[in-house]
Amino acid sequence: MSTDSGGVGSLMRAAREPGVFMRLARGNLELWANLVVITWAVAFAIWQGSGFAITLGTVFAIWAILAVSLNLVVGFTGLLSVGHIGFFGIGAYTVAILTSNAQYEQLRTEAIPTFGWPFFAALPVGIVLAGLTAIAVGVVFNRFRDDIFVLVSFGFAVICFNVFLNSRALTRGAFGIHEIAKPEIGSVAFGSEVAFLILALVFLAVVVLISWFIVSSSFGRVLTAIREDERATEVFGYQVTHFKLTVWVISAMMAAAAGGLFASWTTFIDPNSFILLESILLVSIVILGGLATIWGSILGAMAFVLLEEGMRFLPFLPDEYVGQARQVILGVLLVLLMLFRPQGLLGRYRL
């Protein structure tokens, strides 16, 4: 959302602006955040070698897609949704069910039909399915805002988890689904880790581009106005429910794409990947990176993955505590952030 066309004035202003090092020296947190997280990521990749870096990169790309898509809803439109993981799950389960080649023994475990679709045929179905769910849910959710919206989106996450857990004829419930297909286009298979990483990054790039396209348009400006004062936006001629529903559906479809990638990448999913806690971690990433900033969400996802995985290497931490420790550290980080920098690392907008 640019303001005016540069000219001599802005050039002179740029000349007076202090350089990167000066701004770092003055404690510019945004620059520091970028510098620290990116340096950390590079150092981590070099230290651990390319194999682990590729794995982490893929995890990062999936989280980043989720964070960027959720930021459209939470940061730009001001709807604090903690149910985003539901759409992620819908995408993941659709891809899993449609592509899994596993033959299950009827007697021992739950059996589900085998479709054996290729990944790129199943993914659009998952995305569309999430979109349709989002329309149905969104029409109802449009009636709520603020705290009530948080509660109903919470309800959505819980419902999704229970559907995944209990529709055993489709999802095999707690047994989970194995042998989820890897993506392939013609003869090019994304079986290797590197190829998959590249695919995930391409997805991330597409999601970032779409998000940027949305937020830099007049549509995006209306979203921020809705965030600030929905009723006033309405009085100026906007049917805010339509705007909110549109961005909600787009965001849900992006999350479903991330879900499809995730399912294919892990090749096995069960309902535990789609619990409410994951959703709340996701909201934390968005807030950590900064609301209403796309790059912030990417940086937030990077920092989160590094924190999460990096902790495995803390020598004084026994293995069994690692899982819990990441939540503790993220929790502490969020409290500190809310106290000292409520707009997140890169954000301008406060909740």
């Binding site: 303001t3 005016d4 396209f213 106005a225 965030r227 006033a232 009085v235």
Partner: protein
Amino acid sequence: MSTRTERDGGRFALETIEVAKHFGGVHAVDGLSIAIPRGKITCVVGPNGSGKSTLINLLSGMLPLDGGVVVVDGVRLRVIKPHETPGLGITRTFQDVRLFDQISVWDNIMVVLTERRLLPALLERGKSGQRERTEEILRSVGMWEKRRSLAMDLSYGQRKLLEIGRAMALNVNTYLFDEPFAGLFPQMLERVKGIVRQLRNEGRTILFISHNMDIVRELSDHLIVMDSGKLLTEGDAEEVLAQPEVIEAYLGV
């Protein structure tokens, strides 16, 4: 947005017929019938709680009508939806200054100029006409230098001015200003007065609420006096102000 000022739909820009609004048992607006003359400045006065703001909320669709009819340009309406009001040629400001706080001053004006339909809005990126209009508005309310600031960082008077500017950006026939003069220091006051006069000189209709009798005397052509949701008296400003019993009883001057 097309200019609607040229279109002449009779002597009155807005009329209400037996309009009512209840909050529980409270009759905020109780069978109110008024007519707001086109191209004039109309002022609504009355004690606190007499239903002045509720009237504006009803006319702008922020509250649904419980009864009665609003006539806009000769069209009778029982339901006014807020997003339809610009199409009806109506816009407003709020008593409690409702700007889009955490976006820039520039975007606060731009947002009322851009595309209303979904898909065209997605494809639109600040047309030059919109930019020029935004600059014009920001300069006219003296906020051009502040265009990069967030609306929340402005002073109260500046916020008030920006809100009026935002309404002006919407090129409509009728402006409803809810206490545009409250809490302004003299210099700002003159500025807002100038804007209101300028809007009238352009042939637009203005309805404003004020408690400041000096301003009411100075600006208004038409005066509506309300009490307990009912119309007390209505008419030419000078004539109404000449009725001593009205002034003494309800305005305490």
